[in-house]
């Protein structure tokens, strides 16, 4: 009798183990091979970034005069201390702030002279690329399900800069004005041409005439 009980127990255990490994239950939602992605709103994301996050991060920006000075002293160190980037390539971005007097206005640039004597150019015509997105270090590729969304953010930020930052500025700015700005700069690490650098404006303010 005891032998029979052991026999049935072992048979039951054997088939039980087989069954346990052969069948499993999961929610259908977990088995969906691709998630239903909600449509990413790059425009709204860009608006929050440019009009809320950038002004709030003003204290993180390096003064453009300090950056230029650091570049002259030790450009490698300046890149290490101040640059932001999404990839390990040669191009790096800087989040800068500053103030200067308008000395020239043309189709592409407004030229400012800072109190310490540097001449800097604010781009007002061609705003493109990733400078506006990557300069602040506030946006990470890991926040996006695909790189197309990330790149669409660049495009939307640039559109907003043209429409909401540059257009009203262009309409008002005159030579002699004092302008303060927050902006982004793109520089090549292997060949940083600071004399030719352009600042992509992220925030512009005309302080006085």
């Amino acid at each position: 009798m005891l032998q029979k009980t052991i026999k049935y127990f072992l048979i039951l255990l054997f088939f039980g183990l087989l069954l346990y490994n052969a069948v499993y239950f999961k929610k259908i939602s977990e088995m969906q091979v691709s998630k239903i992605e909600t449509v990413f709103d790059a425009k709204a994301y860009a608006k929050t970034y440019l009009l809320e996050k950038i002004p709030a991060a003003k204290k993180e920006a390096v003064a453009v005069s300090d950056l230029l000075s650091a570049m002259k002293t030790d450009s490698k160190k300046a890149f290490t201390n101040f640059s932001h980037f999404q990839n390990e390539g040669d191009t790096k971005y800087f989040f800068v702030k500053g103030e200067g007097k308008v000395t020239a206005i043309d189709e592409e640039f407004v030229t400012l002279k800072t109190a310490s004597g540097e001449e800097i150019k604010l781009a007002i015509q061609y705003i493109f690329g990733n400078t506006s997105r990557d300069c602040s270090g506030l946006i990470s590729i890991d926040d996006f399900s695909n790189t197309m969304d990330l790149n669409n953010v660049s495009e939307e930020i640039n559109k907003l800069i043209k429409a909401e930052i540059v257009a009203p500025f262009k309409a008002k700015v005159q030579e002699g004005n004092t302008v303060s700005f927050l902006g982004g700069i793109e520089l090549s690490q292997s060949n940083p041409k600071t004399d030719k650098m352009e600042i992509v404006p992220l925030q512009l303010e005309i302080n006085s005439k």
Binding site: I11, N87, G129, S145
Partner: protein
């Protein structure tokens, strides 16, 4: 009764033997590549296999022939054959998510190479070329080369691949700022040289007066250039590619193609194999997406480069 116990003990010992054998075998890495009909992907796959071997692993290359269904079969095979990791160059950003998800469910890490899938959790990590940024730079060069005016053609890659659109959008983010540059045709040639030649021949019949061609990869640039040679327009029309493939690098040296963007497949493939090695050794925290920089190559800086990389 004794026989039954003996059978069960035998079954249990056989199962445990299988497990310990598996633990002693070298780990196996499957390299699933979108196509081996393009030398760039051949280089990517072979470099990944070479690196895997250097790290002490067995590997096998699977060619998906740009077919998501075939890619799916390769994943089934890799899972059932006991591969321990998959280095993956997907055929379709959306369609390939299912395959990576299947592997993940089977406990097999997936490391994407060059092309991405539209998911941040199906793959353990995705090592990708930063195509958009490179094409912003290529676009600037295109504008300067054409003197900010002229008619041009764009040949797109596979329309379901994110790289196709990242390249196109990066290029347009620069070029579309210049109203003097007019795109007279934009067509897909599926990243394929022969198809690009056919498409370009047909476009040239409708638009004989063009100044530039922007192609989403070098294979298409070479195909477009062949069509321009046949139409006696190769000297006038500037052709731009993307990849840094061997024939494109040689063509730039010879003054045929104007420029390409150098991706670094060696870095991508070796990073993917190294990540797999680190995963096996216990590391689990990888960047979800790792963009690798791409550099613009022209006749002026060609001396710094060889096919698929830097000298």
């Amino acid at each position: 009764m004794k026989k039954l116990i003996l059978a069960l003990v035998l079954f249990a010992s056989l199962t445990s033997c299988k497990k310990s054998d598996k633990a002693e075998e070298p780990k196996k890495i499957a390299i699933v590549v979108s196509t081996l009909n393009n030398p760039w992907f051949v280089f990517l796959a072979e470099t990944a296999a070479k690196k895997a071997k250097e790290l002490g692993y067995e590997s096998k290359i699977f060619d998906s022939q740009n077919n998501t269904a075939l890619e799916s079969d390769h994943f089934e095979n890799a899972i059932s054959s006991g591969y321990d990791a998959i280095l993956f160059n997907p055929t379709d950003a959306a369609g390939s998510v299912a395959n990576a998800t299947k592997a993940k469910a089977a406990g097999i890490p997936v490391f994407c190479m060059d092309r991405e899938i539209n998911s941040t959790d199906a793959a353990t990590s995705q090592i990708l070329s930063d195509s958009y940024s490179a094409c912003v730079q290529l676009g600037k060069l295109f504008v300067d080369t054409l003197g900010k005016k002229g008619n041009y053609v764009e040949l797109l890659g596979i329309v379901s691949d994110n790289n196709t659109w990242n390249r196109s959008k990066g290029f347009h983010s620069s070029v579309d700022n210049y109203p003097g540059l007019k795109m007279v045709a934009q067509q897909s040639a599926d990243f394929d040289r022969n198809k690009a030649m056919e498409v370009m021949e047909s476009i040239l019949q409708a638009h004989p007066d063009i100044d530039g061609v922007f192609c989403g990869n070098d294979a298409m640039a070479m195909g477009a250039y062949q069509a321009l040679v046949a139409a006696n327009k190769a000297d006038k029309v500037k052709v731009f590619g993307f990849d840094g493939a061997e024939d494109a690098i040689n063509s730039i040296k010879e003054g045929k193609l104007t420029a390409t963007a150098m991706q670094f497949p060696k870095i991508i493939a070796e990073t993917a194999a190294t990540y797999a090695d680190e995963y096996f050794k216990g590391k689990k925290d990888f960047p979800k997406k790792l963009p690798i920089a791409v550099e613009v190559v022209t006749k002026e800086n060609i001396d710094k480069y060889i096919a698929y990389g830097k000298k």
